[in-house]
Symmetry: D2
Subunit: 233 residues, 4 copies
């Protein structure tokens, strides 16, 4: 695998939709699987890692490969299964709506896991050095770049031993750049574009660091690909 | 109150950030409260109802006024209090991160409530008739407009007697227009722009309809402002 | 309906299992539905209100009847449907375990709703006057009876406009009597016996009090049946 | 450390409260910390592992020691901190109730983690062979012992890569022995006594098994101490 090529593929897939008129216009561009509507029959293929799994500094090849293969690709497969069940359930008019919603909850959970893992792997592979422009933009909202980093790490440390995500996101509705704590792949702030996401599920670090979540957070920061973060913004 | 003026103010406030270059660029435009950074000191004022509270068909003035005043404005005030507590907590370095995260969870919850209520009230005030363009875009993803409406109502009915939101949203990352079930103001699909949101908390209908959630859903559909939905898209 | 009789039936059904040896022994006493095991085929009948729905002071007959009929009996029916779906799912070995768990989550949620509503209706119908014994036991754990009531009301007020339960419960494992905040019918402290439960879902008060949750809490306190609470203890 | 002695201490601490009259009576036996009420000032000491951390078959000493020390003892310490914060918050009458509830949520979460971890470690250390009596009691509710084990393992497999607990519990109110899926340490079925609990947080297995949750479940079953489970029942 040529990592430059796969990286470009990844970033292209992970990038925001080009704003061609409106979102509604863009929505018509989604290609439904044969014989079905996109909302139900959407077919999502796993996005390759944008770098060799052994490339990251302080995160072992075994950990990164297992994380990508078992947790991320597993979520892609699970989402496809849930979507298939939803199609059957839509056709079953005797199914009570609260049972239907149990599947919608799974869809929400799996969709979050797929999207967040793609943003996560796409957030890494860099040298951890934020450029002047991004530092100044972060400082513009948080008072200083250090204040931002302190809060981002603090939320991560509070999730050690549990599960969840930390997100630097831009709230489109409030026009506000801030950090969010997320649980369960599925609690996310409405209307928010995640720019940098850190996976705090234990599968992101236990193999390498055991319970030492703070050391994993150090390693995460050392590998941030700030160019990719800026492209999302 | 001149409802035309207030409606314009509302739609302006509720609209997406103009895409001036990038999100990061837009972030610098957010105006922090005096003496503080926007991420912590952000000051959000309640957005007036974009119509008279008695204007809606089948939703009483008493219900709409109470919903706006108690639940929405209450959420705006609560978010301001939580933000104030977060600023104190940031300065308290002895505070364990998991206690800090308790406040971040509240922030996530209240932020979701503020944003979703603004989108909700802004989704209403119309005649419920979707134009040809929006119908065709919805059909492009869901197979047919009716298939979309059936699922949207089904999720709503499944939430009757409980609490949560139903969202028609465009997932920017997956380039996919679909319906989502949401709980707690805070479970939202990452990277998704909500286009139409329906409040299924009981405060949205109990006063008028008691436990008859399906009748409320009928009333909601009769009042959708599809032009506003299209502007979000 | 003879309310004395139905009240006795209710209290009997709501009472703790007589401790005949051990829990395991008691478990064998559960009567499975014909042709099925109790864990899957358990058949639970709605427990009648232990008093006339119009009897309560400050909670209208319309509200109480709707709450019992729509929310409580609705939960009993939903639980039966979920159990039926679980039996089918158990036999479907191709069903992925995470889809199975979606149903287990619904079972947890509906079971909580059934049990908590039975304890709730059984907590009311009295004159709100706690006897000396129960006051002294509460004071033994909370410092004073007033400190307990203050915290119990405070948790309730914090849930106004949302959904959840407030519980005075005895944690069997920690040997500790304390108040708990609960969400979603399903967050409950492990090993805890609920003694007094207050429903803070909006269906418990919106019809009578709109958004004025604090007035509902006053009415709840005025109607507590402390003898029933003591019997649970 | 004499493991026989510490095991006895553990089982004594983990045992249900002796039913001396009523729960309310038992509640008065809880010893408050000096100068405070038990509900707020309760002081809980970590319970030692009831066996050497290296004793278990297929679960490494490093894993078990880290799980006990970092996750369980960490939860005990966190609960004490949260209780301290709650005492301060009770005295702060200007604190809005929804901010107070943020702490109550943490208390619920940490209490669940403490109790469930004590039951979990106390569930292990045996030879995995269920005696005839317990097998027959389980079969009485589930149809067969195998049907029970199949569902218990299935729920566990569905939690692989995520977080949560699987519980065989006796629902005191419904008089029903069944399996439950639990999330977040805090979703538990009301009025239920957990008899056997399996930790599916990734800290319970990632160090030894990576993402292979099914192998961990095998190891868990091989180490169940069924005598301890029966004592809880």
């Amino acid at each position: 695998m040529n990592s430059n090529t796969s990286r470009r593929q990844f970033l292209a897939a992970a990038a925001m939709a080009p704003v061609a008129g409106t979102v509604m216009a863009a929505a018509t561009q989604a290609t439904p699987a044969a014989g079905g509507a996109a909302a139900f029959a959407f077919d999502h293929q796993p996005v390759p890692l944008p770098y060799r799994p052994g490339k990251l500094d302080g995160l072992s090849e075994r950990l990164v490969q297992s994380h990508w293969e078992n947790n991320y690709v597993g979520a892609v497969k699970a989402l496809a299964v849930v979507r298939g069940r939803l199609q059957q359930a839509m056709a079953d008019t005797s199914l009570p709506p609260y049972v239907y919603n149990g599947l919608k909850r799974e869809q929400l959970f799996r969709t979050g896991s797929v999207v967040l893992h793609e943003l996560y792997f796409g957030s890494l592979g860099g040298d951890g050095k934020a450029g002047a422009a991004v530092r100044s933009r972060i400082a513009g909202s948080f008072g200083s770049y250090d204040a931002w980093e302190t809060e981002f790490r603090r939320i991560g440390n509070g999730l050690g031993g549990g599960s969840g995500w930390v997100v630097l996101g831009y709230n489109q509705h409030l026009k506000l750049l801030e950090n969010y704590w997320m649980a369960d792949h599925s609690t996310a702030p409405a209307t928010t574009t995640p720019l940098l996401v850190m996976d705090m599920y234990e599968h992101a670090y236990q193999m390498d660091y055991g319970a030492a979540a703070a050391k994993y957070i150090d390693a995460f920061f050392n590998n941030i690909n700030w160019e990719a973060v800026e492209q999302r913004a």
